[in-house]
Symmetry: D3
Subunit: 260 residues, 6 copies
């Protein structure tokens, strides 16, 4: 048995039969199911009513054609995706990724994980993910705008402030969110916070870019204090990467150490 429990193995087999060609997603399902072995054995009543079957099957998966004009006026075709994985806790929430590696398997895997990530925040938020195999790298502003407006001309009917609230991800920054949200507002004749990651002037949040890095330091400070009765002060910190998380961890860590 691939999992050390007959019931969980059976659940996994069904997932494999349904999605034989989605390796990223299956690996995430396998990891989840393996981690559940002790719980299934101690509290089997939690798993009645097909709870696991429903947990690993997205509530809705939408794929759509995105035709757009490139700088030479040629019509190009990409594919858009949105998996609305689970809304048990609240509106679907999760980023949009524009990158050539985007496939249904990747989107399902990310949407599956997003469900659990969001539940940990304690906020009433479900899990979702979306994106496209369109790659904004090397494209002009106008090409990106053309693509984003076409992408949203379909996505707008599936999202909403109490339904599904997309955010950015790889390839989807302030510029893309601006084009997407602008088209959403235009088509719906509404100005409502249906997307996160907007620029400040479009109603976005202050400090959003810094939040993940800063938050990491605050959390570490609390853990060190409450659990280990020490603090960041004087500690040596190793930061991996140089994205917006890493950069603001460094800034905040320096700031939190009164010795610096």
């Amino acid at each position: 048995m691939i999992i050390n429990n007959a019931y969980l193995s059976e659940v996994y087999e069904m997932a494999r039969r349904r999605d034989p060609n989605k390796p990223e997603f299956l690996q995430a399902v396998l990891e989840l199911l393996r981690s559940l072995v002790p719980l299934v054995e101690k509290q089997p009543h939690l798993f009645k009513k097909g709870v696991l079957d429903r947990l690993i099957e997205p509530e809705r998966f939408i794929q759509f054609r995105v035709a757009w004009k490139d700088r030479d006026n040629n019509t190009r075709v990409n594919r858009g995706y949105r998996v609305q994985f689970n809304s048990s806790l609240g509106p679907y929430k999760g980023g949009l990724r524009f990158h050539r590696t985007v496939t249904p398997s990747v989107i399902k895997f990310l949407g599956f994980e997003q469900t659990f990530k969001n539940s940990l925040t304690g906020l009433p938020l479900g899990g979702a993910k979306g994106g496209s195999d369109f790659d904004p790298h090397g494209k002009t502003d106008d090409e990106v705008m053309n693509f984003c407006q076409s992408f949203m001309s379909e996505l707008f009917r599936h999202i909403g402030a109490s339904t599904d609230v997309p955010a950015g991800d790889i390839g989807v920054g302030n510029r893309e969110i601006g084009y997407l949200y602008g088209q959403y507002c235009r088509l719906m004749n509404i100005s409502e916070g249906t997307m996160t990651g907007k620029g400040i002037f479009a109603g976005g949040s202050l400090l959003r870019t810094e939040a993940t890095g800063y938050g990491l330091c605050y959390l570490a400070e609390v853990i060190l204090g409450k659990l280990h009765h020490t603090s960041l002060e004087g500690k040596k910190i190793i930061v991996s990467g140089s994205g917006n998380v890493a950069l603001y961890v460094i800034k905040k860590a320096q700031n939190l150490d009164p010795a610096l």
Copy 2:
């Protein structure tokens, strides 16, 4: 080259990259593209503006979770599909298939072909297909009803008399259409011909079951008369199969031959 034309081969390669695991669909695309070789060579202007890229990519593909209660009160989970392939000519139109062999590849393949089949009727109809890996065989009426009502509790928001008009197919007959359409009408608070294949008392068409078989004979009669200056009279006819097409071909053929 898999196709005897550089441009068409390139189109096919893109399809293969996007859908590497959809053999039924890719085969249909390949057949279409091969048949287009003479046209592409003679009238290349017809293929500008990404016409072929757009033709082989469905406008929308929706997949959804269908949870339902079986006769032992267990919650079961199946997957529902609807591919809305092309609406250039009119509302999406195509059947729903409930069978264990239903996969995204099969649905895309059928929806792709439906686009061309519908265009041949001369009616303003686009192409679509849908269904589920749920199999009504061996299920009780109540189980089928439970499944159909749950299936429609998601599908209802994607269809409509001027948007997408489903019909039956394998595993979806009068009974299933009745349960599906009843749930549609209840949720929408509307009584509108949004599905074909309804029973007579639910607003269905008279002679729908006989239409394909009868129509075949009428068509044959016209072809024989106009093109070959003969008729069905006295001809020996071989009918393959024993479904509703075959049965009504036999009945009508006997009827058309004045000698019988």
Copy 3:
């Protein structure tokens, strides 16, 4: 037993428990159930799945406050009703009655009967009825307009061309239908045949007033001819009443008798 069959008596008892104060409705239910005795005994399988329980309980009953201004600028309050009894065969259909005798019992009784009357037409139409205890008698045109516009400011959200199609009845003629339909079109920003009984210039049907009387004569002519091998010619006809049915029966009967 009030009905000569245990099952039907039990159905009737439930109706009486639910609507102890609706004598007109209960009498109609009793008549229906009594007429079903032979059918229940011969074909009991037709009565499974709670068919009768569902048949005698309206799908929806809506009652609403109608405040309007009289000629002295006083605010007056009446009550509006719409029972949407049964939509198994198609959109709800039935008249609106404005008369002081209108009560929930009368409306339910009329909506119940309308379901069966409409089913006899062979058209895909369900049954409904509505109205108000407002009495147009002795009111000015402006008062009637004020009332009708207020009445429709609530009813408009419950009706529609494929949902529920009201018509006139006692106290609701061309004038009232005009005010009601005008308000419906204004609020919905739509011009659609959501009501029958409109004036000719508002899209109504020619000969609607004459249709019932004329049709009665045509039907009698057919019955006499097909069943009794005779005709209206030379027959003496007694007509009761002097409303639009009676008047046009007389006119058409004279017209059909070649001797006159």
Copy 4:
């Protein structure tokens, strides 16, 4: 005269003519009107424009058929109700009661009183009430779920976060609210606080169960302190009943008395 004022007696007579068979509702109207005698005499200008006629007539009353499956797979039929009594101050708000004693008279009476109860909170809330003659007692979880989902398949089109916000009442606790709200979210494709009384994990409020009992004690403490210059401390308290109000009054009262 049943009320010691000619105008108020006349208002009451109209209520009695409209609802001769609704004793609970008429009693509540009578009590209200009697309490208004001094005000009508001192400030008659407050009662112009049919204010009382409009106050005692609900804005909307909806009754609907609820068909559901019991544990033996039989179709059962109950009746659902929602009276949306008055929205002058804000969205309709009031509980749902599932009990065999539920009748139109009871629902109207409760919705009428709810209008005044809600106005006392100082919040912008109107008054409503609803429910069914379905009794969850002795039913299985699955039966209750079947009923609740069917009930909401009609109610969903009449409520909304800014329109009408139901809560629980007798027979409608966390379990029923969960089934009802789940079906609402599914059909509307929305996750919005359209119902109160949800479980914590479904977005409900912490301490909701304790709130009425605790609040009673806090209020008593304030009244004793501000008006009587004393406190709960050392007082003997008699609590009637043993529901969630009584239990949490006891708990909080013990907690507020520093001597305990």
Copy 5:
């Protein structure tokens, strides 16, 4: 007095006060009012209830910003218009004109006349007109497409098959209607005959181009026959202009004369 009737002069003065800068519109109003002098004098009761005030004031006039990209990727701004003049007889109906001479006055004048033109057809159609100061002359296909899609991204929320049905006019032919209708269908997710003038493959009518010219000849034939007891045969016909009306008049006239 500008009109030989005090009441009509007063109506005209009000129009002039409201629209002092709309000469085309005012001239059309003046012509209408002058033609009504005999009727007003003979049947003054037809003019009660502000009928004329309502007739000369459009029900709705919408003006909107249309930003689009030209061939050099510059953002250009034009103005879109839609006057929904009168819906007494049915849905608004009237063409869209794209030309540099388009102003509010021209649009109002055309929408006013359209109301009367449509009423003469005997069909249940109201009157409307719209367009833009955008001029398709000298623009590339892509520029026209960009403009049309942007124009429809606003207009789509104001029209519909039972609400307002635009057609072509100067500068709006098959190409423009195709771009406009395509965008409408995409945004609404619907395929419905909301525009007239579509190409044959988009669901347009056969012979639409020929209809006005052919119809003129048929009408002339009837008038000559019924009123003058003669026919087109052997008559000499003078045709002014060389647009689609003139060309098809010539073709049909030749066809109707058996001597040719």
Copy 6:
């Protein structure tokens, strides 16, 4: 050149060509453009993509017929307006003015300025303005109610809490807002803060009347303190006018001076 910059002069010329008869609006455009001369010269890159062309052209301008009944039961016709000028920063927001001087030019001018006024608040609000040439002066309460209800029977479809939020202005006070908002809630079956300026019992804000006058004093106090190191204390203040701003400036100024 009317403006000391070729590009800005050209922008102004286009405005003049589009709106030759709107002097109030053109003057406001001219003032804006003149004030931009230094910015255009120093930072020309801010003015790409047609930013100014888009800024001076309203996104949407709606004009509609408002028919209503006066005290003599005559039908009167006025014209309603709403310009939704710019939503870049958030939902449209701006007052409604009922006054005989209201023209399209005045409404456009006010909506244009409102866009900039709202942007200065730092809140995510766009700019709008509306109103009518109806003058409430000398009208009875019933006439004003009739007009307001008719006005809102069209406006309701263009506004909403996240779309466009009207407020009062000249001729539109608590009474008019009450009639307008009441009709909005009735037609939409919703109770939502779609208008500002409501009375306290309709969900309005406390101190709204005083806010502008009080705020002026608080602002002056801050400016005097922070910039000039002094305060209102002992200062002589000249107040112009006697409207709600003036009156509450006086009250607060007296209150802020500890010497009084």
